[in-house]
Symmetry: C2
Subunit: 239 residues, 2 copies
């Protein structure tokens, strides 16, 4: 068991916070800053310094007591930890509204994701370009994926055909599926599926908003009139 193995052992919540650190650090770097402390990061993002320190520790970076972390080294380390220093080529399946929006998202380049082509079964879309990427017919998928050694797919198809498309992706040798569909995909254990279902975020928002409104109402009714109300709200960064 090598040292590298520990990478995967970072807690999932830590992994989810890393992109936010990265985004902040890049802004700071653009401002000409050279060093940063965990206190500073925590302040900017509304977190606790100890949590930031623990999170950064998982990436293997070491800082300087009293000084903090060298910004450029820290950025490099986070990007390497997330694998964003290498480019990953991907195909996008389903060039509808959502697919088109994903293709138009400019941030992916910075994250090492390169969407090189889209696939669809709508004849009016096939042969066109969407945000500079060619749209091919679905029956070209398998051959092109094999020849170009593409193993990551972004699924932005209607839910009803999601499993069917997933089966095709598996058959074509894909190893990772970023699933923007609400469908629960059944795939072999060796294929990684990352669900990006909008309803999850909406559910959390709905419950948090209801909770906040309940507390406001109770505050007005005089049952609880001190200033603990604001503190009692869920942390906005939890999801």
């Amino acid at each position: 068991m090598t040292d590298d193995m520990y990478k995967q052992m970072a807690p999932l919540p830590t992994i989810r916070r890393l992109p936010r650190y990265l985004q902040l650090l890049l802004t700071m770097q653009a401002d000409g800053r050279e060093f940063v402390s965990t206190t500073h990061i925590a302040d900017a993002l509304g977190l606790e310094p100890i949590q930031v320190r623990k999170d950064l520790g998982h990436t293997g970076i070491v800082g300087k007591p009293k000084v903090g972390f060298e910004l450029s080294g820290l950025i490099e380390r986070i990007e390497a930890f997330l694998g964003w220093n290498n480019t990953t080529d991907a195909f996008l399946i389903g060039a509808g509204h959502l697919g088109s929006a994903v293709l138009g998202y400019e941030g992916f380049g910075r994250y090492g994701l390169n969407i090189i082509a889209a696939f669809d079964n709508d004849p009016t879309r096939i042969g066109t370009q969407v945000h500079g990427r060619p749209v091919f017919a679905m029956d070209k998928l398998r051959d092109l994926a094999t020849r170009m050694h593409i193993t990551m797919a972004i699924m932005t198809v209607p839910r009803v055909v999601a499993q069917e498309v997933a089966d095709e992706l598996v058959a074509a040798g894909f190893l990772a599926i970023w699933n923007f569909t609400a469908a629960h995909l059944k795939v072999p254990a060796e294929v990684v599926v990352q669900n990006e279902d909008l309803s999850v975020g909406l559910a959390v928002l709905s419950v948090r908003l209801a909770s906040a409104q309940r507390q406001t109402t109770e505050g007005l009714s005089g049952e609880n009139d001190d200033d603990t109300l604001a503190e009692a709200t869920l942390d906005e960064d939890d999801v």
Copy 2:
């Protein structure tokens, strides 16, 4: 402290799983099924029955030993828990690619979210319709929000103007912001911000894929040749 208060105390992971249960249950209902057990739900989603039971318990639903849960009642209860039985009206800010995709997303009606108008500051977009919703100029936002009592906003603007737009939303009395921007928004404590940053999902996918590939490589090198490899992969449902 009323019984209702306990609603907000459901663990966040539970809240995030509820939409997936709901989605499955609706499919089952469409298939004409009337009862369902937690064992059945767990099997379909690759979870443990005890976890499903605990999650459903948080919504306050009670089942029948041996029989399970009545499907229609369970669906109602989850929807009520998430507040999706009432419609919430919302404005969308930023009618670009992503905003347009969100406007075109058909699933929101079912979740009680009703986007009634979009706002933008691009003159070529103002006055047009996107997926049936009118696009207004940004300077109409405050007046319309006040008059229509809209308190939820969906932000799909470029990152660089995100904070500026958030400030306008706060000034206009909005209480909830669904933030599709990578920016960390600074808002008063009483405003709920739900971040929906694509880079988070990509980060988790990247790390999981790297981990899976590392394990495959090690398996081939003969260091670990039993079948524990598949079991060692992260659960696909964790995020």
